[in-house]
């Protein structure tokens, strides 16, 4: 029988009770039945509201239109209505709570039998899952996010804002400095800072100002915020030097910055003369970097193939290592005080422990042309390198081969690269005047993840790790499309390397044992360490 009519018919009601008696639960009333009965009751008995009305007096009856309404009446009736509404809501919420509780009980107490006999083939199943995860990772690998265009010459240097993730500064080869907003992906300020190249740019640790050096032998300090309305774009300070400065870096805690050119100069921000200049030999130094952890340490690399370390407190250089070819720049590991990585002209990167410079900790090779810039991830686990071969690569610190290579058709020689402070993105500035924004993890989903998504992501990651040595998975995970130039270069260099190795092996084989020393790959590239 249809539900609604049930409560209205009296015989049916008797019926229901008799049914109950037959089944042996005459004294139990199911909730649905009681609800039906409720409507009956209201039909027979005066409703609750009526009783209330009686108690308060007939004057407050909201149904009677004849009675003139005073303020008290209105309040009374509204109160009654409110009560009714409350009651209804309460009933509703009670129902909701019941539903919720039931749902939770169902959700929580889903029994699960973990008996391995019931879930067989765990290894094959997980293998297939790992394979699928690896494939999906490749499918979703879309690292390129945006290209910031606006420079009118090649981008020569980049700098991160220390306090703001969205702000990036870049200096171009025509002396123009631009400040970009990454969230809006547009340029928010343009400064004609120098004549000729902007050789170096760095931000102050507090993020209120930044410094630039250029080919016009000047060091300029600029405010981070733009000039006021109608004001001229002017630097806060300008220092005119005697020689060209080729690089600049700011101290991580104090009002001190260091420039490099013919020597490494350390400047107080308030003075026009360097408070200390350190030199070791005579050659042009291409870059200088402060150690972010032990802030009195500096590293520089010069064009006579060496890397020099300095101690700012003792105003003296510490040690020099000479490599096979010139180092373009170095970068300190932000989590490990004594580790730095050098980007070399011989297509390799060298990670050194600064206390033992005679052997690099790791030689990173994959580039097929000179490495021009390197920057560490803020987590200190990986770094990104920019190369003349029109690609950027991401290396794990403890691996000699890169895990990722990014390139686009239009990206030319990449001159500078930076890893953003939240470790999620990579920016690179290249010859063809664009700054490109990449994801650090090519297949990562951007935005907020739900907990289930997160769990799935973690699980997939672990599966990929677990089965990474399996040939199919390894092949898929390593597969990258490369431009033809890079691909053919890799092939060529592989042949060359093999030939060299073969020759060496032959030489060892055909000479008196012990007369030809076996030099490990790591030691091969270090020419000398000068104390």
């Amino acid at each position: 029988p249809p539900g609604p009519t049930r409560g209205l018919l009296c015989p049916r009601r008797v019926n229901s009770s008799t049914e109950g008696a037959r089944t042996g639960h005459s004294h139990y009333v199911t909730p649905a039945e009681s609800a039906m009965e409720g409507s009956d009751c209201t039909a027979k008995e005066p409703p609750l509201a009526n009783v209330c009305r009686q108690n308060y007096g007939a004057a407050q009856d909201p149904v009677e239109p004849a009675v003139p309404r005073s303020a008290s009446h209105v309040t009374g009736s509204s109160l009654g209505k409110a009560e009714v509404a409350c009651g209804r809501r309460w009933r509703k919420t009670a129902g909701n709570i019941k539903c919720e509780l039931l749902r939770r009980i169902i959700l929580i107490s889903v029994p699960r039998n973990y008996d391995p006999a019931l879930h067989p083939f765990e290894v094959p199943r997980e293998y297939v899952r790992a394979l699928n995860a690896t494939k999906l990772e490749r499918v979703f690998a879309k690292p390129f996010l945006a290209s910031l265009d606006g420079h009118r010459d090649g981008v020569n240097c980049l700098a991160k804002h220390p306090k703001n993730l969205a702000t990036v500064l870049s200096g171009a080869c025509d002396g123009e400095v631009r400040i970009w907003n990454l969230t809006q992906r547009n340029c928010i300020r343009t400064i004609q800072a120098h004549e000729g190249f902007v050789r170096g740019i760095c931000t102050r640790f507090c993020g209120t100002s930044f410094f630039t050096v250029g080919d016009d032998k000047t060091v300029k300090q600029w405010k981070m915020d733009g000039p006021g309305y109608g004001d001229e774009e002017e630097p806060l300070h300008t220092i005119l030097g005697k020689t060209v400065y080729t690089g600049i870096d700011h101290h991580w805690k104090e009002a001190v910055f260091a420039t490099c050119g013919q020597q490494v100069d350390i400047w107080d921000e308030q003075r026009t003369n360097p408070i200390c200049s350190m030199t070791w030999g005579f050659d042009s130094i291409s870059s200088v970097k402060f150690n972010p952890i032990e802030t009195f340490l500096l590293g520089s690399c010069a064009s006579d193939r060496n890397i020099v370390l300095y101690d700012m407190r003792q105003a003296t250089p510490l040690k020099k290592v000479i490599l096979g070819m010139r180092t373009n720049t170095i970068c300190w590991n932000p989590m490990e005080a004594f580790i730095f990585t050098a980007a070399n002209e011989d297509y390799n990167l060298y990670t050194f422990d600064m206390r033992a410079l005679d052997t690099p900790v790791m030689v990173h090779m994959d580039h097929v042309s000179a490495v021009l810039d390197v920057d560490y991830s803020p987590t200190g686990k990986e770094f990104v390198s920019a190369s003349f071969d029109k690609s950027i690569r991401i290396f794990p610190v403890d691996k000699s081969r890169s895990r990722e290579v990014y390139h686009t058709k239009r990206m030319q020689h990449v001159i500078c690269v930076k890893w953003t402070s939240d470790s999620k993105y990579i920016m690179c500035g290249s010859d063809e005047m664009n700054i490109r924004l990449w994801k650090a993890n090519a297949s990562e989903k951007l935005g907020v993840l739900t907990s289930r998504e997160k769990a799935a992501k973690d699980y997939n990651q672990k599966l990929k790790e677990k089965f990474q040595h399996y040939p199919h998975i390894k092949r898929i995970a390593r597969h990258r499309h490369l431009p033809k130039s890079i691909y053919s270069q890799i092939q060529e260099q592989r042949i060359m390397k093999e030939a060299r190795r073969r020759k060496e092996v032959n030489r060892i084989k055909h000479s008196k044992p012990g007369s030809v020393p076996i030099v490990s790959e790591k030691k091969k590239h270090v020419v000398a360490v000068v104390k």
Partner: protein, 771 residues
């Protein structure tokens, strides 16, 4: 003298020694003379030493005994030639004078001073600087070693490392350095000024300031405290009310209600004393409530609850009491107050109404409550007896007969039947008594019972006869005498006779019955769906109804119902059950046939066995037959090499190792390497593992949630590096890992210009060079 003697003895001794030494010397030394000379000198010295023992430091002139090296060509003895001439000796006067001490000192100073070395060249100095500085720096850096190691080995690193505190600058600070410059901004500021909106101190408008002035901080605090207290109290109260509401105890609620009523009464009393008018009003209210109660059927045992209770009331003491309570409440509410006096007639009238309304069962209960009701008591005892019969089925009929003889048939409660029905299954197994004796006994008992209600039974007898005629096909063995009582009340007896009775499906039974009954009495159809209630009603009605015919009618109905449920079943069973079973059988057969037809072609088991046999054959090593037909024999078509020859040139393959699936009949284990599987296998042991079983174990432990509990799954899949989106990760700091960061500024050290080698540096340098 003694000294001389001593010396002589010593001399002798030494000479002896020399003599003893001599042969050795002789053998070893190259020149004899030198050895002799040596001996001479020693002797001389010894003598001198002995002579000096005297105490007086006199010096004897050397006596020349023979040619020696000590004698110079100028005949001057080089006495004391071993001692060097010291400058001090020359200067020393006979008497030591203090005036020369200074000169001596100067001399010694001159002697101690060396020549000044040449200064190191600049490169060298710088190198030293560098080395020292490098060692120092390396030392400073080595404090990071444990931190770095820990971070490298960490299961999980969460970045940023330091806890960030959100720095919220007050708006005044932000806006203090800001000025309106563009025309638009200026315009806006003008507007703000006009409206007395705050510009410089943007937090407070004048109105806000005024309000601040109006209430002091203490007041605000106090007020807030009060509000908090009130809120807390309210929440406590709510919690308490909720708790009380949840209490299920009826007694508790009763007590509470009673307490409330008492309180109200007390208040009313007080009100009467204090304010009679208000009391009167109250009274009126009560009167109104009474009127409402009289109008309503609320406490009149007509509600659903009351009805259900009425059913239960017969067996349940509590239910009875509940009903009584309801009634008493009704009485209470409908009672007129003493203020208005009533006539007795009216009262009587109301009571009459009440009696009419109230079901009879309740009245019984009331009686029970007033005093011991023998009928009720009996029914109770009979119940217990019924229970006893369970234990001794042999005695059952007799006991029942006892009970029945004592009680009136009409008064017997339905419960007996129900209980018996329930116990039927258990008893069935125990029943071993012959049918005949059983038949006889219940019949006898029923006879005694019949005496109590002769008229009713006569009616029933007629009816049962009719029924019997209708069902001629029955195989039931019940005697003509026995059927009547069995039909009426005593179900156990027929049931005992036909144990299969309850096994047949009910639905079939009712349908059958319906058809049969429809021919006789159409009116019964209505009541078919609810036989139990009817039974109850019939149970209830006869008690208080004075008119007999009505009661009889009811009886008839009741009998039919009983029949429906129980007695007539055997016939139904004999007809219906087998046909149903046959149907089922047929269906199953059909089903099987269908499956057979569908899978006619493939015999999986035989195929598998064949496959396995083939696999075993294929894996067996093959014999090699090297016979060449025609070699050493006549050639030609159709000639076969002789058996002997074949035997000779057949190389038997050695028996291979037993197959792994030899003892597994349902399994084929392929022992060949599978190329397709090999493509998915790891060939070289990966780097961090040292043994293949380590690697295998890592692979074999599943990490998915299919095989692990939620928590284990989460633990197994924790990512190595966790970063928060949108958070800046700063380089590690000494404070982050618990080190003390140097308080010295890097800058201040430079300005002190430390470009000088200190003595400490020198020491370090020396250490370095030694190393």
């Amino acid at each position: 003298m003694t000294a001389n003697r001593l010396a002589e003895s010593l001399l002798a001794l030494s000479q002896q020694e020399e003599l003893a030494d001599l042969p050795k010397d002789y053998l070893l030394s190259e020149s004899e003379d030198e050895g002799d000379n040596d001996g001479e000198r020693k002797h001389q010295k010894l003598l001198e030493a002995i002579s000096s023992l005297d105490g007086k430091n006199r010096r004897k002139l050397a006596e020349r005994s023979e040619a020696s090296l000590k004698v110079s060509e100028f005949n001057v003895s080089s006495e004391g030639s071993g001692e060097k001439l010291v400058l001090a000796d020359l200067l020393e006067p006979v008497k030591t004078s203090s005036s020369l001490a200074t000169v001596k000192k100067q001399l010694s100073r001159v002697k101690s001073k060396k020549t000044v070395e040449l200064p190191l060249n600049k490169e060298e100095i710088e190198r030293i600087h560098r080395e020292v500085a490098f060692n120092k720096t390396a030392q400073v850096l080595s404090k990071w070693d444990p931190v770095v190691l820990k971070n490298r080995q960490a299961e999980q690193l969460v970045f940023p490392l330091e806890k960030e505190e959100p720095a919220i600058a007050p708006i005044e600070h932000v806006l203090s350095g800001w000025k309106a410059r563009t025309p638009l901004e200026q315009e806006i500021f003008n507007l703000l000024h006009k409206n007395k909106q705050p510009v410089a101190d943007p937090l407070l408008t004048p109105v806000e300031k005024a309000s601040l002035r109006a209430m002091s901080l203490e007041e605000a605090k106090m007020r807030r405290g009060e509000l908090q207290r009130a809120r807390a109290l309210q929440s406590y109260y709510e919690a308490k009310a909720r708790r009380e509401k949840k209490i299920k105890s009826k007694k508790y609620h009763k007590v509470v209600k009673k307490g409330k009523a008492k309180k109200a009464l007390k208040e009313f009393e007080q009100l009467r004393k204090v304010n009679p008018a208000a009391a009167l009003e109250e009274l009126e209210k009560i009167e109104k409530a009474r009127m409402m109660e009289r109008m309503s059927l609320k406490h009149q045992n007509s509600g659903k609850w009351a009805k259900s209770k009425a059913i239960m009331a017969k067996y349940d003491l509590e239910a009875r009491q509940a009903m009584q309570e309801q009634l008493s409440k009704n009485k209470e509410l409908t009672q007129k107050l003493q203020v208005a006096s009533e006539s007795e007639e009216e009262e009587g009238g109301t009571e009459d109404v009440e009696e009419l309304l109230v079901p009879d069962v309740v009245n019984e209960v009331q009686m029970n409550a007033d005093g011991p009701n023998p009928w009720m008591l009996r029914s109770c005892t009979s119940d217990t007896k019924e229970a006893a019969t369970q234990e001794d089925p042999e005695q059952l009929p007799e006991l029942e007969a006892h009970g029945v003889s004592e009680s009136e048939g009409e008064e017997r409660p339905v419960a007996e039947e129900e209980i018996l029905l329930r116990e039927f299954e258990e008893r069935r197994s125990l029943r071993k008594i012959s049918e005949l004796s059983q038949d006889a006994e219940p019949a006898g008992s029923q006879e005694t019972k019949d005496s109590g209600s002769q008229e009713v039974l006569s009616e029933l007898r007629v009816l049962s006869q009719k029924l019997k005629e209708n069902h001629q096909s029955r195989k039931q063995k019940a005697s003509s005498e026995g059927t009547i009582p069995q039909v009426q009340r005593e179900e156990p007896a027929p049931e005992e006779e036909e144990p299969l009775l309850l096994q047949r499906p009910e639905r079939v039974q009712t349908l059958e019955e319906l058809e049969e009954l429809g021919k006789e009495e159409c009116f019964q159809n209505k009541e078919l769906p609810r036989p139990v209630l009817e039974g109850q009603q019939s149970e209830r009605t006869p008690n208080n109804r004075p008119d007999a015919p009505k009661e009889k009618k009811k009886k008839e109905q009741m009998i039919d119902l009983q029949n429906l449920l129980t007695t007539q079943s055997p016939s139904v069973k004999s007809l219906a059950v087998p046909t149903v079973e046959e149907l089922e059988d047929e269906e199953e057969r059909n089903h099987r046939q269908m499956i057979k037809e569908a899978f006619a072609g493939d015999d999986v088991i035989r195929d598998f066995l064949k496959e396995k046999r083939e696999a075993v054959e294929a894996s067996k090593p093959k014999d090699v037959d090297l016979t060449l037909p025609g070699w050493g024999e006549w050639g030609g078509v159709g000639l076969k090499p002789s058996a002997k020859k074949r035997r000779r040139f057949l190389i038997k393959a050695p028996e291979g190792p037993p197959r792994k699936d030899k003892n597994l009949p349902n399994v084929i284990i392929n022992e060949k390497r599978n190329i397709h599987a090999a493509a998915h296998q790891v060939r070289v042991l990966p780097y961090p593992f040292t043994h293949h079983w380590q690697f295998e174990r890592t692979i074999q432990t599943p990490i998915g949630s299919t095989w692990n509990t939620q928590r284990a799954f989460q633990k197994l899949t924790t990512p190595k590096v966790v970063t928060k989106p949108g958070h800046i990760i700063n380089p590690i700091k000494a404070e982050d890992v618990g080190y003390r960061s140097s308080s010295r500024s890097d800058l201040s050290v430079i300005q002190r210009n430390p470009k000088r080698i200190t003595t400490r540096h020198k020491k370090q340098l020396k250490k370095c060079s030694v190393d």
